[in-house]
């Protein structure tokens, strides 16, 4: 029993990060990759300005937000290194945006349903 406890203890203190890897290998993103990201962000900006000039009806805001979200994901993955982080960090980032969406959805469903049938 005591032996077992000691084993658990050494598992938790896995200084070499081998038995139960909990932090990522350190990864350095190269300037070349950053330049590609930079180029794609500038391209996205150009696209969104050009798209705003065209009349797509109800799709104008959807296209604009789609481009903005794509750019944001690129920034998060590469400039903010989330692609190279551990699952802990990835889950944290994902959980944050998910919680935000839940708040938006619930608040919107309140406002939408207040005047239900009265319009």
């Amino acid at each position: 029993m005591a032996h077992q406890a000691q084993n658990d203890h050494s598992l938790q203190h896995d200084a070499d990060n081998i038995t139960n890897p909990e932090h990522a290998e350190h990864h350095i993103v190269s300037p070349f990759q950053y330049t590609l990201v930079f180029g794609s962000l500038l391209l996205g900006t150009l696209l969104t300005v050009l798209a705003a000039d065209q009349n797509f009806g109800i799709f104008n805001p959807i296209i604009a937000l789609g481009i903005a979200s794509t750019k944001a994901v690129i920034v998060i993955l590469f400039f903010m290194h989330v692609k190279y982080q551990t699952n802990l960090i990835k889950m944290t980032v994902g959980a944050g945006f998910f919680t935000f969406l839940v708040l938006i959805t619930m608040t919107l469903s309140d406002y939408i349903s207040r005047a239900w049938g009265l319009w």
């Binding site: 705003a52 009349n55 903005a68 920034v75 960090i89 608040t107 406002y111």
Partner: protein
């Protein structure tokens, strides 16, 4: 008892690490990677609170734009797309140099790190400079919410010199005052964004001094990396502000 602990402790030291103090590996962390990840984790938790903070204003914009659509369309179309687009490019460039700064710190090139931090600051200031001219125009047109707010432009839209037609439809009388709501949100959102940039530029100045001393190019990259996360987050907020405030109302739906 004391001596027993003392013995174990010094054996432990001898086996695992000599006690040399390095800021990237403080004694309560087992490895440098663990300390680094703990730092990133904390920074991301802070950024999540920032998402919620800006998120409230984005939600207000979403709701009021639906309620007072004509007023929001007319008010939004007075913004200067050229300046907004230029500022987007300027901010992306600033973020690009910030990312390169993180790289320079990782590969321990001190002069490059200082250069990239300076460029990040310069483009950050350029963004605020453009913003100043945009705000100035709002004051001149009396588009700042408050006692001197003037709706006349939305009662009689000015004639476009090129087409000879009014630039937009008059806003219905019951919605005229709601153009003020658009500008209130415009100033609240871009103003909070600008405040974040001003704070960021202040921190950049402090990081520059320390980078010049070589504090971040001997393995201790965390302050540069975590500030980078903050700076990129502020970029992302603008990536959404630009289309939502400036772009999506160019082709209004008939209501």
């Amino acid at each position: 008892m004391d001596s027993a602990i003392e013995t174990t402790h010094s054996e432990h030291d001898a086996q695992e690490h000599a006690h040399v103090f390095v800021p990237q590996h403080r004694h309560h962390f087992e490895t440098e990677e663990q300390q680094r990840e703990a730092g990133s984790f904390g920074m991301w938790l802070f950024l999540l609170t920032e998402i919620m903070f800006f998120g409230g204003m984005f939600f207000a914009y979403l709701l009021f734009r639906n309620w007072y659509y004509e007023a929001f369309v007319a008010a939004s179309n007075t913004l200067n797309i050229g300046m907004g687009a230029a500022n987007t490019a300027i901010l992306i460039t600033s973020g690009f140099f910030m990312a390169l700064g993180v790289w320079a710190a990782e590969v321990r090139k001190k002069n490059l790190l200082v250069l990239f931090l300076v460029l990040t600051t310069v483009f950050g200031c350029a963004f605020l400079g453009v913003k100043y001219f945009e705000y100035k125009e709002k004051f001149e047109l009396h588009h700042v919410p408050g006692a001197s707010f003037d709706v006349s432009q939305f009662v009689n839209p000015p004639i476009d010199a090129k087409t000879g037609k009014p630039v937009g439809n008059p806003v219905p009388a019951d919605q005229l005052q709601h153009t003020q709501l658009f500008f209130f949100l415009y100033f609240a959102m871009t103003g909070m964004h600008a405040l974040h940039m001003i704070i960021g530029i202040g921190i950049l100045a402090w990081l520059l001094v320390r980078a010049q001393r070589g504090e971040f190019t001997a393995g201790y990259v965390a302050p540069i990396e975590n500030f980078g996360l903050y700076w990129h987050f502020v970029d992302i907020v603008w990536l959404f502000l630009f289309p939502l405030l400036y772009l999506i109302n160019r082709h209004p739906l008939a209501h």
